[in-house]
């Protein structure tokens, strides 16, 4: 939904389960995206725990954790959401005189819209939801409630198993072959697949260095850095402003993705495009590690149409430095708007290869995968 359309926004607000107050200093260019006041969101939702009877407790918990920012990363978010839907399906019972398929689909849709209100869904999570709805639609009518529910739950389990866990293992297997002794690998942000690749290559015994690049305000890579150091890898840590100074040492760049689109563009954490462009300028190969369920048939040409806006207040503070408070009253300044984008889009020219569970493919082959393996009989 485009948020600059007043009618639709009004209608959605009336239907909304979560009351969000809009931010005061909205950025005009991003009017089509939801920009909410982050300070009051979480307390509002928390106090509604007992009022929202229509939302299953597990789904409410997931929505709460999304809004609080407890979970980040598409794999984890997707898994938690599917698990919550599983629990909701188990507890579901068809009202009399109604058909399971339609009722359950409607219920799932309402849960998904609640989760969407807590935090906008990412593109690849849409794939997972479409899968669940397709499985529900394909349930034979002769199944009883219990049989249908067990079938759905095992389908969801298989999705998580095959599309996330086993896919990750295959990707790690493929990508580890690309790591050679003496390599200097650069990574950015917190991607669970890239972390697994680095650790498994280290376990096999390859000798390489890692450069971990980080950026404000999230500083996500610090957690990755801690875990790599705990396992004994030799790492270098720097912020994204220094990437052009360190790129000359780097031999390969491993990046994760939130979604890969049909024209080969990669949607990932903001800053990834910058890293990929600098790597391209230095002729360093960029490997995107991404499971196949994140491929989508959409096409994006820029980072503006489809994005997510985070908490602008996070930009105004530096953790640990109370003396840097020049932007303390940024909400009162009329001419000042803070923009905290979460995602950005890397054009396919800067991507050398995409490592997926179907193999290592060039970015131009993404529509092929979407077309061939997006068929229903391949999904499970």
């Amino acid at each position: 939904m485009q948020f600059d359309d007043q009618n639709r926004v009004g209608k959605a607000k009336r239907r909304a389960l979560v009351n969000q107050t809009e931010a005061k200093n909205r950025v005009e260019l991003f009017r089509h995206l939801p920009q909410y006041d982050h300070g009051s969101q979480l307390p509002n939702l928390e106090s509604k725990l007992f009022q929202l009877d229509s939302v299953h407790p597990a789904v409410f918990k997931v929505g709460l954790r999304y809004m609080a920012g407890d979970i980040s990363g598409v794999n984890a978010r997707c898994t938690e959401m599917l698990r919550a839907l599983q629990e909701a399906i188990i507890d579901y019972s068809t009202p009399p005189e109604k058909v399971l398929i339609r009722e359950l689909t409607a219920k799932i849709s309402s849960y998904i819209s609640f989760i969407n209100e807590c935090r906008p869904l990412s593109i690849s999570m849409g794939n997972a939801i479409r899968f669940v709805k397709r499985r529900i639609a394909k349930l034979p009518l002769s199944h009883t409630d219990v049989e249908a529910k067990t079938a759905l739950c095992s389908d969801i389990d298989r999705f998580i198993n095959e599309k996330i866990i086993i896919a990750d293992k295959v990707i790690v297997g493929h990508a580890s072959t690309k790591v050679r002794d003496g390599d200097v690998l650069l990574t950015y942000g917190l991607s669970c697949v890239v972390e697994m690749i680095l650790l498994s290559a280290h376990d096999v015994g390859k000798k390489f260095r890692v450069v971990v690049v980080d950026s404000r305000p999230k500083l996500e890579s610090q957690a990755l850095l801690n875990r790599l150091i705990a396992k004994g890898l030799s790492c270098t840590y720097t912020h994204i402003n220094a990437v052009s100074y360190i790129m000359h040492e780097v031999t390969k760049v491993f990046l994760g993705a939130s979604a890969v689109l049909s024209n080969g563009t990669v949607l990932s954490r903001v800053g990834t495009a910058c890293i990929a462009m600098v790597a391209h300028a230095f002729s360093v190969p960029v490997l995107i590690c991404c499971e196949a369920f994140k491929f989508h048939e959409r096409v994006l040409l820029d980072s503006i149409c489809c994005n997510e806006i985070g908490d602008p207040g996070a930009l105004a503070t530096v953790p640990g430095r109370m003396d840097i408070n020049y932007l303390e009253n940024w909400t009162n300044e009329e001419n000042l708007q803070l923009l905290n984008l979460m995602y950005d889009v890397t054009p396919s020219d800067y991507v050398s290869v995409i490592v997926t569970d179907h193999g290592m493919i060039p970015p131009t082959s993404v529509p092929v995968i979407v077309r061939e393996y997006g068929q229903e009989h391949y999904l499970i």
């Binding site: 106090s47 009022q51 009877d53 407790p57």
Partner: protein
């Protein structure tokens, strides 16, 4: 939402004598002319929690409370009143009703809590962190009369016993240490393992435990089963859970997985581990996780559980009726600052006068006062910051300042009542002067008596 609410309404507490008696248990003590239990019940009703279990000590008291509840809330709420033997303590009360508890999480509220904190927020924090216990903390209320002329020394002696010492982590989400009541006077002991894992502990003396807890049912019942000597939730169970949070001995998942016999498990063991690794890496690791992961080669897997807190906002009111001083304070606050709690609408003079009350000539009723129905006041009386109950007969020239007068009280002419609590059916004859006294039910104060700081009860 899979929560069950248990209200611990107590019995006839010794600390509130002579206000409470066999006929008027703790829970039914009137605050601003409403039983104190009604505040808790209204708060729960506001949060859409309509299924309650009210635990009362003593069978007669239970009948009393049950009768009032069914009278007031018959159609709106579904309340079960359970009677437990006296002096079993809060832990014993929970043990007694254990078989009625089936939900995943239990919300335990003390029946003497007067507050407007949203209960959903405590429950949401509990769910979000998957905690074993979540406690509500609020700012310690300011106590003592505002115009304290004397008896400052007496108030100071009462204060230290009330406070709790709370240890929080830097993010103010987890409870690291709790020391209550008598332990506050002694040295503070903090677990070294907790300090090492967290790094920074913030000790707060300005926060008070509001006796509103959310427990995971399986853990609570297990702890109560294994430790039969635990008497009180606040003094025994909560500190036990907080102390052992990094060396957890409780079974977190209740009944063990029943699906072990499945022939084909969809997700194998190693894949399951990988999945939990992904999920763990995705979120900001709490100190529990960091502690678990740093096993240092020891064989036993260190399990941890989380004890969370919810700190009520400073604009919320929260107080517990557990002493005479608190009784005075809460009465004053409910018709004063926290007037939204009383549920009454204030007149233009900022007081509540029931339409059936009669005021004599030249009688002044100041702001922040309350006059119950059917009460009659004589001429030239003056009422300041007080609560007067129903059907009272107050003579002429009476001064009531900072006091609570319950129902059916007769006050003769020329009396002066300051900072006192007068229970129901009391008769004060002419020119009696009471200052900081408590008069038990049914007592008769003789004419011309002058009492300061006494407790007057029928023998």
């Amino acid at each position: 939402m899979d929560f069950q609410v248990v209200v611990l309404a107590g019995g006839v507490s010794k600390k509130l004598l002579p206000l409470v008696s066999h006929e008027l248990p703790n829970a039914l003590l009137p605050v601003a002319n409403r039983p104190v239990l009604s505040y808790v019940v209204e708060l729960l009703e506001l949060s859409n929690l309509k299924d309650l279990i009210v635990v009362v000590e003593g069978k007669d008291t239970a009948l009393n409370v049950g009768a009032w509840i069914s009278g007031a809330y018959a159609d709106r709420l579904h309340v079960e009143v359970a009677a437990v033997p006296e002096d079993v303590g809060t832990a014993g009360a929970i043990r007694a009703i254990a078989r009625h508890l089936y939900a995943k999480d239990i919300l335990i509220v003390s029946g003497d809590l007067v507050s407007d904190v949203p209960i959903g927020a405590v429950a949401a924090t509990h769910r979000r962190h998957d905690a074993v216990v979540t406690a509500l903390l609020c700012n310690t209320p300011v106590s003592g009369p505002l115009e304290s002329v004397s008896s400052g020394g007496k108030d100071k002696a009462k204060k230290p016993g009330r406070y709790d010492l709370i240890g929080l982590d830097p993010t103010k989400q987890f409870l690291l240490h709790i020391a209550t009541g008598a332990e506050v006077e002694k040295d503070l002991r903090i677990q070294k393992s907790i300090l090492r894992s967290v790094g920074q502990v913030e000790i707060r003396a300005d926060l008070m435990d509001a006796h509103l807890y959310a427990f995971k049912r399986s853990v609570l019942l297990e702890v109560l089963d294994q430790n039969g000597e635990f008497h009180s939730l606040k003094h025994d169970v909560l500190p036990y859970l907080v102390r052992s949070q990094l060396k957890s001995e409780v079974l977190l998942n209740g009944t063990p997985q029943a699906e072990e016999n499945g022939t084909e498990k969809v997700i194998s063991q190693s894949n399951q581990q990988m999945l939990s690794q992904i999920l763990a890496n995705a979120s900001e690791p709490t100190f529990h996780l960091r502690h678990e992961l740093s096993t240092n080669g020891s064989d036993s897997v260190r399990r941890t559980h989380k004890c969370c807190v919810y700190i009520a906002g400073s604009n919320k009111y929260c107080a517990r009726l557990n002493s005479l001083q608190a009784y005075n304070d809460i009465n004053r606050d409910v018709i004063g600052e926290a007037s939204h709690l009383s549920g009454y609408s204030f007149s233009s003079h900022n007081n509540i006068i029931d339409p059936t009350a009669e005021l004599g000539a030249k009688t002044t009723v100041g702001p922040h006062c309350m006059l119950g129905e059917g009460s009659q006041m004589g001429d030239k009386c003056s009422v300041k910051r007080s609560v007067i109950g129903r059907h009272c007969r107050i003579g002429a020239n009476v001064k009531v300042v900072n006091s609570v007068v319950m129902n059916h009280v007769t006050i003769g002419d020329g009396c002066s009542i300051q900072g006192s609590v007068i229970c129901s059916n009391v008769q004060l004859q002419e020119r009696a002067t009471l200052k900081d006294c408590q008069v038990g039910a049914g007592y008769m104060v003789t004419a011309g008596s002058d009492c300061k700081g006494e407790v007057l009860t029928k023998k």
